[in-house]
Symmetry: C2
Subunit: 201 residues, 2 copies
DNA sequence: ACCTGAACACCGTTCAAGT
DNA sequence: ACCTGAACACCGTTCAAGT
């Protein structure tokens, strides 16, 4: 045994992350274990710790990939020719769609796992920033006259809100009597927020 | 051993839930295990399974208590004499405060644990409904003329949104450059949403 | 140098056996 | 009837030892 050198460190990382994504997607995040990932790529657990600090580190890297995928998903679905309001609604719908289609991976993105209080690394925050960038772009034509800071702040508030609607729905915290659909809720939010924001400023 | 009958089933449940809450609060949700709870109340693991279906079931009951506590917390902090907008801002601030002061228990409330797709039991949804009721009450004077359904819908959208802001902040998903505080974000959300909602309807 | 696999200290859950 | 504690099938993580 030992000294196989079949794959470089980077190749092993790549294989591990691909296997981890497949396991989460097919079997749920509870089946994502060091042993299941190692087994899926034909290595032993020890090898995983040569390439990731620990399982939380692996999950963080998987989440970074999920964010990249989400960014592409959103970009592919928003028509940049549409009017700004329609673009924002489209982004919200696409965001919700992603969560519905890839629930397990999307949930993993927001689970309170690794270090509650510790801050996320810069390379991870950069990915989050890219997603927020899409919202800012769509929002800019509507609120640009209020300054760049207003765009950024409005984008955050709006997106955190859409996220809240999405997460409570996906996790069944809105299964109370007489509920609207997630799409309707997002539409109501965006319409009314923009109504207020563009008028008062 | 065996046949102690020191405590009734209900007493054991009570002790277990109190111990679980203390463990989560002091050591974090990762330390919440069947063995740690059993140890804390002076029983063995087996006993816990006489009283809860499994650990997810224990967590669900703990979460129900957390919701009760949150409901009391919100009720205690909102001045019912204040004007409706101020009441809503107060509720948002109190909600965020609870999350900040009891982060681990609050996180447990929204982690995607037990059965992703399975619905929550009615007695749990009833507790969620009570919390939403506080928002509805504060919102009623502002949008009552638009009908009861509008109140319910607006309350949900508004609260899911405040929740989104809170959760992304607590879980460090908004640690990007130039961020406002959670309170400012919630204020911006509520002000603008209400502005739109009360004018257009 | 690279990888193994056994070991350590844990998990959730069950259930025969004790009183 | 009530509770135990040992057992089962797992965990994350480490690290001496093999090639």
């Amino acid at each position: 045994m030992a000294r196989r050198s079949d794959h470089s460190r980077d190749e092993i990382r790549e294989m591990a992350l691909a296997a981890a994504a497949a396991i989460v997607e097919k079997e749920g995040s509870r089946k994502l274990t060091a042993r299941s990932v190692a087994g899926a790529i034909g290595y032993t657990v020890g090898t995983l710790y040569l390439v990731f600090r620990n399982l939380d580190d692996l999950v963080l890297h998987l989440n970074a990939r999920t964010l990249d995928e989400l960014h592409q998903w959103l970009q592919a679905r928003v028509e940049s020719s549409a009017e700004p309001r329609r673009q924002l609604q489209g982004l919200a719908e696409a965001y919700i769609d992603y969560a519905v289609c890839h629930t397990a991976r999307w949930n993993l993105l927001f689970d309170s796992v690794a270090g509650d209080d510790s801050e996320l690394p810069d390379w991870y925050l950069a990915r989050l920033g890219k997603v927020f960038g899409l919202i800012e772009s769509a929002l800019t034509p509507l609120v640009a006259q209020q300054g760049q800071e207003a765009v950024v702040q409005a984008a955050r508030v709006l997106w955190a809100s859409v996220h809240g609607i999405c997460t409570l729905k996906i996790r069944h915290r809105l299964d109370l009597a007489g509920g609207q659909s997630t799409g309707e809720m997002a539409a109501m939010l965006i319409d009314n927020f923009l109504e207020g924001f563009t008028k008062t400023g």
